[in-house]
Subunit: 340 residues, 2 copies
DNA sequence: AAACATTGAGTTACCCGTAACGTTCCGTTA
DNA sequence: TAACGGAACGTTACGGGTAACTCAATGTTT
């Protein structure tokens, strides 16, 4: 045991005094061998510390690997970490592994990663977002493996998709805020190289606000990460540029908390002087003294459903093309009360 | 193009009217072919949508794959998400991919995952924690690939390690709290199937508190996840069981925030009535109105260093066995002032 | 006792690239 | 012009398993 070189099946077979094929049968428990033979082979597997080489197995047949490529924009954003957790846990119960790809919200990174990960013959891919480069789409089609697009709901997915309708999220929040009487509203978010779910939310939001008689007077898209501090200074910029903002909608809760902090620091009372609304409902909300006006999505569940849909596609079970896991608007206490 | 079946190099070669070997040479740019030939091969690669099969390459030579197995206890804990982000980003710059394994803080899960991931011939493994099952250690030794143990500093690692000394973290906090005059102190954390970094912190903490003339009168180890709400109800249990606690040390900041919330809810003033200290320094601290007494660690950097050490081991560059990335105690405002 | 089924185990070919070596077909040079 | 050298490309073998097939040694039936 404890050799430095890898132990192969034929070495095990030789040591056990049988052929490679017999050893293979024992390992796969497919029958066709005597108990004596089984014992001899197992003894040698143990003694030599043999570990099967799955590359060879995949290579031999047309059977695919147990890799699932999973692309995630970034893990600094807590919601994506939760999605990944849901995916990997569920995949694990089926004996599959995630091969991670952090795309940093760029299609170029995604395309590069797709090219690499496809060369490892994954069983399938789970991709965040419904926007992909033209070349990426071609490669995905050629690969002939299941693709689950998550996050954004996609009515015409490459293969199947699961997520929520971000336009509706934004729309509902826009309608809610205008129903409370807000008319002059600002937005603080970040921009990326392409349209994404945040863009969809903003579009839905603007539509509802305008439909409700309000106006999104200023949209600030920072070239930064969508986290706490950019929410802080983004709020400062927004308020400096536009005087009479009644309420601010943020790309997500992390930025909204940053905005809340800015207001606290400047003596602006929330929600008396200004309203604040975010998106995503972070876990920390359960221990904040003010409930953030936001939109709740079960990110863990989203990930789990994505993994389940992947497994359904791999086993050939019938499954819907498109699953909406829904969201729930959280009124919170960072905007004025109804009727205010 | 757009075949359903995978396109192999020999198909490309045949289409281009050359041998497989020539096509291989063109792909690897190793020379020994004319410009005419190169153009013909490249044209067919494009036309057929050929993607190289890296499995076959690994299989052919003794060259290893570009997979790095990365085991992480859980992603619900923000700090581990940051570590993973640091690892994957850095690995990506070297053309390597992370194969994720969530161990849920159990050695049994870790062992199972190690067995599986080793069968895919990874180039190396990055493991969280320095405790592994006996069988896992045997497999790792037999595998003969680099192993980077992270998180806990390990003076005698399997191979190399990077992290911090958790005992010292706990010790410094214990010394700090006793220096502020705290004597009757409680602890709230979670328990797992084995010793881990949190255990080390607790041990260091107790040692310092006792050395400083104080006493850790109650250690509460919940069978739950180390997040916000368990911090909340754990605090309730702790205070119900023991009356005169002056200060509580928590396993991490998430639990500490939960505790802070409990105190707020019950009208206990922090730090006047009770002191609270955590560990890990979450990003949200930057927008909280009270600075949590905690311990700062650069988790992203930890992940990056781990990936760098892995690459150093793979390329054979000399590198230290053991890297301490250090920590910084954050006095915060959730404990009384010095001299109080 | 001859014909046949069953069980256990070995043989061969193959999957897709690459290393190592072999073969043409030129152009130079003595 | 024979001899040589190198560029360009082909052939073969290999790696670790598995499918499909073959074969030998039993046992079973009539």
């Amino acid at each position: 045991m404890s050799k430095n070189k890898k132990v192969s099946l034929s070495q095990v077979a030789k040591a056990a005094g049988v052929s490679k094929m017999t050893a293979s049968r024992v390992l796969r428990k497919e029958g066709g061998y005597s108990e004596t033979t089984r014992a001899k082979v197992m003894a040698q597997i143990d003694a030599l510390g043999y570990l099967p080489n799955r590359l060879a197995t995949v290579f031999a047949g047309d059977q695919s690997s147990t890799f699932i490529g999973v692309s995630i924009p970034d893990l600094g954003n807590e919601v994506f970490a939760q999605v990944l957790e849901g995916i990997d846990r569920k995949l694990g119960t089926f004996g599959y592994q995630s091969v991670l790809g952090l795309t940093q919200h760029t299609l170029a990174e995604e395309e590069k990663w797709i090219r690499t990960v496809l060369s490892w013959q994954p069983a399938g891919l789970i991709l965040t977002g419904r926007y992909h480069s033209q070349r990426a789409v071609e490669m995905l089609r050629n690969a002939g493996i299941p693709v689950v697009e998550i996050w954004d709901l996609n009515s015409s997915p490459l293969d199947v998709s699961v997520g929520i309708n971000h336009f509706d999220c934004g729309f509902d929040m826009g309608r809610y805020l205008t129903s409370l009487g807000y008319r002059t509203i600002g937005y603080v978010g970040t921009s990326h190289d392409t349209a994404n779910a945040a863009t969809d939310r903003l579009n839905g939001f603007c539509k509802a606000v305008e439909g409700g008689g309000g106006e999104v007077v200023k949209q600030l898209c920072l070239h930064d990460t969508a986290t706490y501090y950019p929410g802080f200074y983004g709020t400062e910029h927004l308020l400096a540029a536009t005087g009479n903002i009644e309420c601010i909608y943020y790309q997500n809760d992390a930025m909204a908390y940053g905005g809340l902090k800015y207001c606290d620091a400047k003596g602006l009372a929330v929600p008396t002087d200004i309203g604040i609304a975010g998106w995503g409902d972070l876990p920390i909300a359960s221990v904040m003294n003010r409930r953030m006006t936001s939109c709740h999505v079960s990110h863990l569940k989203l990930g789990q459903r994505a993994a389940e849909m992947m497994m359904a596609r791999l086993t050939g079970e019938p499954a819907p093309d498109c699953v909406d896991i829904g969201f729930r608007l959280i009124p919170g206490s960072t905007v004025r009360n109804a009727g205010g």
